[in-house]
Symmetry: C2
Subunit: 138 residues, 2 copies
Amino acid sequence: MTEIEKKLENNGIRPTAMRILIYKFMAQKEVAIALTDIEDAFVKAERTTLYRTLKTFEDKGIVHHIDDGTGISKYALCEQGCNCELDQDLHLHFHCSNCDKTVCLTDHKIPHINLPDGYIAEDANLVITGICEKCSGH
Amino acid sequence: MTEIEKKLENNGIRPTAMRILIYKFMAQKEVAIALTDIEDAFVKAERTTLYRTLKTFEDKGIVHHIDDGTGISKYALCEQGCNCELDQDLHLHFHCSNCDKTVCLTDHKIPHINLPDGYIAEDANLVITGICEKCSGH
DNA sequence: CATTAAATGCACTTCCGTTGCATTCTTTAT
DNA sequence: ATAAAGAATGCAACGGAAGTGCATTTAATG
């Protein structure tokens, strides 16, 4: 049994062929993945299957959902110790307006905000849009 | 000529009856407005007209577009001196998960973030989700 | 009043997310 | 090993919201 299969099983996900392929695909990408990206990479697979695979990954906590403001849901593998489901890993996301790629800046946590009286924060989403290091030429 | 008509004309917007009504509607609301909200309020009007009115307001800079993460575009009147089009008024937005309303916290600017080398910020969006003061009972 | 430009109304399209249900595959118990 | 049960997959279709093209109406201008 491979590392990936273990990872899936440890999180209560049956390690089917499709799921392993999708996990590998996401692992080798350093950017957030949209459903369409996976569709393009696995043309033989059904959109629904890919869709539900992402949902399963998210529900089981090995992937987190990213809203980068483009209107297209993206996903990224959670890093070791990511507690995104507990709202304890509120790192920010960077969306490049040039190449349209979105990356997790996991080292950059969202700063604490003092809200007005009566407001109770439960979650936060911070997206910086601009030019990524690749497009800016470092 | 009313204040609203002046306001519209000063921003290069022809003050038609519809536009004045929509402006008034937005002015009396203290929360961000979705297209559907305006549809519900003006059932006699065409969706497209309302849609394009919001677009016009946004283009002319008297309204700013809000992405609160719900997937539904919302809009709010710019306050005096709002420079949202210049990315100088990056206040944060609060979305209530209970009543589904979104408000501008104009006094709460998005803190400056030090990005990794090579990343160039052009815009930022910070949305805090939680319970608003009305739903929390102050 | 005639001409021109802008605003509006209507119909339609696209995109993405989502669901229902039948079918296939995998696991588990006998 | 095989049958039964449960989960995953494939297929078809729906739904909401944003957006566009074009004809028509309304408002501004000379």
